[in-house]
Amino acid sequence: MALAESGPLAGAGAQKPQGYWAGVGARLLRDPVAMICAAVLLALILSAVFAPWLGLADPYKGSMIARLKPLGTDGYPLGTDEQGRDMLARLIYGGRLTLFIGLMPVVLAFFIGSALGIVAGYVGGMVNTVIMRVVDVFFAFPSVLLAIAISGALGAGIVNSLVSLTIVFIPPITRVAEAVTSGVRGLDYIDAARATGASAWTVIRVHVIGNVLSPIFVYATSLTSVCMILAAGLSFLGIGVRPPEPEWGLMLNTLRSAIYVNPWLAALPGVMIFLTSLCLNLLSDGLRSAMNVRD
């Protein structure tokens, strides 16, 4: 990201003396909705990472006599699940896998998709045709269907979920990266750089990346919410994380049979997925307006 400060920038950021990212940060700090969402997400991530040190109950240890205890039971503030495991502990520990599988694919797809799209957009010609026609084919699948198809064929498992979701999000990011790169490529300063004899790699590294990464990044953040919902959805279907691991989608699935016994307890894991996905969406919207990127 340091490149963005040294490189020439399109749009309003170029004139800002304090640097583009500092301006974005300042605008984001003044957006109360985005800040609340960022705080909630940070709290979720930190509690998931430091779960073992929070003095919680063992999320794997069940109890035959304490199954499906309602919310507010003594010793179990959020009740217990169908095997008598502490819900509070499982929800907090559940953030580890859910957030990891929900966010990592977008990160991976951001790097792979940006690379593919920048190459396709800058090199053009046959390379562009090959990459973009393959991307078109993947666009023929609704994302839910593609994720389930690949995960269904590969089978359940954390790595398989990561692979299938990454494949789902590479094509849209590639398409956006290609579009913004093609736009930048025709600009005068790129021609000027080429005229000085800079190699394609140097031009991409010094002049293209700094200018295309921020729109690609904003677009990628807008995909995180969908990715969260899909990742938990795969586990909900039984083709993601395997039991007995705590994971929100999987917990929602195993607690489904309890809706006639203790309905609101059964809905809790979904609340976590909803909260995360809502915050991701709102934060991405805030980032978009802070960066002045229009869709």
């Binding site: 993947f138 609704p142 064929a153 279907l237 309905p263 979904g270």
Partner: protein
Amino acid sequence: MLSYFLRRLILVLPVAFGVSVICFLLVQIAPGDPLTAIMPVDATAEEQAAMRAAYGLDKPLPVQYAIWIGNLAQGDMGRSIATGRPVAQEVFGAVQNSLLLAVSAAVIAFPLGIFLGFLAGYFRDTTLDKVVTALSITGVSVPNYWLGIVLVIIFSVNLGWLPSMGAGPGGSQDWAWDWLHMRHLVLPAVTLAVVPIGIVARTVRALAGDILTMDFVTALYAKGMSRADVLRHVARNAAATALSVMGLQLGYLLGGSILIETVFNWPGSGFLLSNAIFQRDLPLLQGTILVLALFFVAMNLIVDVAQAAIDPRIKRS
């Protein structure tokens, strides 16, 4: 118009080819031997080889693909490993049920989404706009499989008004448009409608907001045209884009109903797909995905052509 349609059709063919390759490869990336499900455990090496040959699995991949696509062209998608019935028969029965659900959800979502989006776009930056925007962002953020469960808890478990699963007394076979059957459709259709309501409302809000500030709108008001007539012009300008978003959403509804069908045990393609996954029924998995993806491709084609028919500017570009 016809030449535009043909041009679009030619562009679709390579995509359809790519889709078929991906569906073919799905079975190849699956771990384990595709025959383990049907192969007797005590089969000798020769028997295994004979079975492999019978299914054409001893041939190189491109040859296998050619055979598969050849059969496909004759409507033969192989047989389900679990039930032994032809995949085509299973898939089309299920897709009908999925279509019923998807179209019902669309009938709920599209008018509501357009209405809300237009209100928000017309009364931009008012409280109404903020409420609609908040609603639509909630709609696109909610995991709909969880929403389905919540609706079941409220309307089936607590209130007992609506059934929580299935497609009515006759199962998947005899659908009828009476309350006995339709009450089963209400919860899944409403659940499925939530995401497209949010997306359509968002799109229409942005569209209406943009078009209302255009010069021609000012000009129409200036020449004394009534508000209703001006809005008719605005609607015509927004129609092409709104239509394309809705067409895509209908495709997403069909392909994306998998999770909702699982929640409500709705006997559609998603339900079939999850059965196929758990029984490792690869031909069925492959066939279902292929049909759904090709439907989505066809939907895109229809949307493009319809868009060009409404808005001649698109055809020229």
